[in-house]
């Protein structure tokens, strides 16, 4: 187990380096930089601008050199200063990471919490109304673009007034709230983005769960279990479900990747201050250190997600040994 963990983490290092290098290279190669807007200001002397250029190493267009200037401090946990907000990137991005994790985490719970029971029911009651309903939901979820779905949800919130039309909490009275009120207010804001982000993944896992369930239910050992006179619940949950769920656990790691990548649009539309909106704004303002730190965090989270999936699989399936 330990050797497995160490090996996997070591294997993630070249991946992290490759991804950050490519990102950095593309940022270096993109025309213009943050200082362009400052240069337009006649009150700032050219000497100071040249000083800033040297300070941020913006004077060089060599991608390897620039990467090194980013990489070496980053290795020691120093992600630099945000150009725009003039504060350490780390302070800025920490809260954003937490917000994104909150949203993806609740979407993950939503999608898996619905996908597994619905998929099992659709598989057991194949071709009945519940199965038809599930197949409708899955086609809907697979096909609806998250832009459109988010906007529909906002329209729904605006028309009914049942949910807030965006944001992470009620900014105006946030400081006056008791902890309990803060909690319910956050949950209230979380509902719609969770539904949007969760539905798309849910459709996919539900289909997978259903087909795995159908295949497992036709196995010989299920017939044996039935012949032994086991109760229906025991056959379905103990014998079929545990075997059918294995392939889905591998999907789990991908689902985190999918959610993190898909969260950008949802965050953007709902005004959710997460990594997605951060990257979007930082790209617009050419705030390179922020983009780099955000991308690093994203890839790290993906690697950890895949690792968790492997560990889960080993826990559920005793045939798998992690050595």
């Amino acid at each position: 187990m330990r050797t497995f963990l160490i090996r996997r983490l070591l294997a993630a290092i070249p991946l992290l380096i490759a991804v950050t290098f490519i990102t950095n290279a593309m940022l270096v190669l993109s025309p213009g930089n943050y200082l362009d807007t400052i240069k337009l200001n006649p009150n700032i002397s050219p000497d100071y601008i040249a000083h800033l250029e040297r300070l941020y190493h913006l004077d060089s267009d060599n991608v390897f050199e620039r990467y090194w200037y980013w990489f070496w401090p980053a290795l020691r946990g120093d992600f630099g200063y945000s150009f725009l907000y003039n504060q350490p990137v780390w302070e800025m991005i920490g809260e954003r990471v937490a917000n994104t994790l909150l949203l993806t985490g609740s979407a993950l719970l939503f999608s898996w919490g619905l996908a597994i029971p619905l998929g099992v029911m659709a598989g057991v009651y194949r071709n009945r109304w519940i199965d038809k309903l599930c197949s409708f939901i899955s086609f809907f979820g697979l096909s609806i673009p998250s832009v459109f779905f988010s906007l529909l949800m906002i329209l729904f919130a605006a028309k009914t007034g049942w949910f807030p039309v965006g944001g992470i909490h009620n900014q105006a009275i946030w400081d006056l709230m008791t902890p309990w009120e803060k909690f319910t207010d956050s949950l209230h804001h979380l509902v719609l983005p969770t539904i949007v982000l969760g539905t798309i993944g849910m459709a996919q896992y539900m289909r997978q769960m259903r087909s795995e369930m159908i295949e497992t239910l036709s196995q010989d050992y299920i017939r044996t279990a039935r012949a032994k006179g086991l109760s229906r619940g025991r056959v379905v949950f103990r014998h079929a479900l545990l075997n059918a769920i294995n392939p889905l656990v591998t999907l789990f790691g991908f689902s985190l990747a999918y959610l993190l990548a898909g969260a950008l649009i949802t965050e953007f539309v709902f005004g959710w201050p997460g990594l997605g909106t951060t990257v979007y704004e930082a790209l617009r303002d050419e705030d390179e250190p922020v983009v780099m730190a955000a991308v690093t965090m994203l890839v790290l989270m993906l690697v950890i997600g895949n690792l968790i999936a492997d560990l889960l699989l080993a826990i559920i399936d005793p045939r798998i040994r992690l050595e």
Partner: protein, 410 residues
């Protein structure tokens, strides 16, 4: 009493489940091609695998099976209609995508106010009333009952091109000026959303096709080379595929788009979007094709081709890759939505097709202002079309996957 009840339950329950599972098995034996997750398939597929298929080409068998799949055919017909409408956008739309009506911003859809009966209640040719702005601030309108504009067919209007070849100014329908017809309403500048949806389809739908062709070609060549040569080439190519697959795609697309800078013409932006999306998209295909090539290259005919002294390129392209074709077509069909949604996302975030050009993505930008969205919900119309297009591609792709299942090729 309770004991008896539970016993009853226990004896009955396995029976019920037994029947259910038994049905599954029968179904699966008789009906191998029906993927378990597509209940809508009907008809006896087993027959397609039978002896009468001898002498039929695999693609013909696939087509025959596809034709029996109602959802897949529904998807196919929908796509034909959508793509046909996109090609004929200029002719079908009453206005050009950039025709402004400054005095009618956010006019509600007229689809519901089309009149078939005149004041006396007699059936007449469809007509609309003139528009009077009631409140310029709130953008409320009323119908001017004194002005009637019958809908005319094959009227002259804005000039347009069809496929860069045919130039014309004849539109399928329209009303005489100063009357206006906004079937799906109008946007902030008073442009006709119906016309813009049709023009936007040209961009949004064609990016799907072009993107998938480029990334499939790259994916086949890279996957073929990696699988065929093995060794260092395989290692190198597959590691880069893994890096691409590890990237959070939409973020990466945005960063890559940044590299090309701002202030480009719409044709350039279109090309950039295709390149960026294809750059991300080929990785999945390359990985699976590599796996198929690994097993195909062991076949005798590949060794024979090698013995004949053919070049590696020729063997890969002419002998190995054609065997992956049915798989490639299925994955390609299922990945078209990625490109359509990619363009929509990019344009929606302001990094794609720019105004006044229309795309389904940039038309939705108006809906991101919550006041516009709640007061003028018809700005969401393009989203509905994205949904339909993506669903149609999914239907078709699912049907193709079931039809191309090699277990039933006979």
């Amino acid at each position: 009493m309770t004991e008896r009840l539970t016993r009853d339950k226990e004896t009955n329950a396995p029976d019920a489940i037994g029947r259910a599972a038994g049905e599954e098995r029968n179904l699966d034996e008789r009906n191998l091609s029906v993927a378990p997750d597509l209940p809508a398939v009907t008809g006896d597929e087993g027959a397609a695998a039978g002896p009468q298929n001898r002498g039929r080409s695999p693609s013909r068998i696939i087509w025959l099976k596809l034709r029996r799949n109602r959802t897949a055919m529904f998807g196919l017909y929908t796509l034909i209609v959508l793509y046909g409408a996109a090609i004929l956008a200029g002719f079908l739309s009453p206005y050009s995508y950039s025709t402004l009506t400054t005095d009618a911003p956010f006019h509600p859809p007229m689809l519901t106010t089309l009149r078939l009966f005149d004041e006396q209640g007699r059936l007449s040719r469809p007509f609309v009333y003139g528009i009077t702005a009631e409140d310029v601030q709130l953008k409320t309108y009323s119908e001017d009952l004194t002005r009637k504009y019958p809908i005319k067919f094959f009227v002259r209007g804005d000039e347009y091109h069809i496929l860069w070849l045919i130039r014309s100014d004849i539109h399928l329908f329209g009303v005489d000026r100063p009357g206006r017809i906004f079937l799906f309403g109008s946007d902030l500048q008073g442009r006709d959303i119906f016309s813009r949806v049709l023009y936007g389809a040209q961009v949004s739908l064609s990016i799907g096709i072009i993107g998938i062709i480029i990334s499939t070609v790259i994916g086949m060549l890279v996957g073929g080379a990696a699988g065929y040569f093995g060794g260092a080439i395989d290692f190198l190519l597959m590691r880069s595929v893994e890096v691409l697959l590890a990237l959070p795609s939409l973020y990466f697309i945005l960063i890559m788009r940044q590299m090309f800078g701002q202030g480009l013409s719409s044709t350039q932006v279109y090309l950039i979007i295709v390149i960026v999306l294809a750059f991300i998209g080929w990785a999945t295909q390359a990985r699976v094709i590599r796996g198929m090539v690994l097993s195909i290259k062991e076949h005798e005919y590949v060794i024979a081709a090698h013995a004949l002294g053919y070049t590696s390129f020729r063997i890969i392209v002419r002998h190995v890759l054609p065997n992956t074709l049915s798989f490639v077509i299925v994955t390609a069909t299922l990945s078209v939505p990625f490109y359509i949604l990619g363009e929509v996302a990019l344009s929606f975030l302001g990094a794609g097709i720019q105004e006044p050009e229309a795309s389904w993505g940039n038309m939705l930008i108006a809906a991101n202002t919550s006041r516009y969205l709640s007061d003028f919900p018809w700005v969401l119309t393009p989203g509905f079309f994205i949904f339909i297009a993506v669903m149609a591609w999914n239907f078709l792709g699912d049907g193709l996957r079931d039809a191309a299942d090699p277990r039933t090729l006979g």
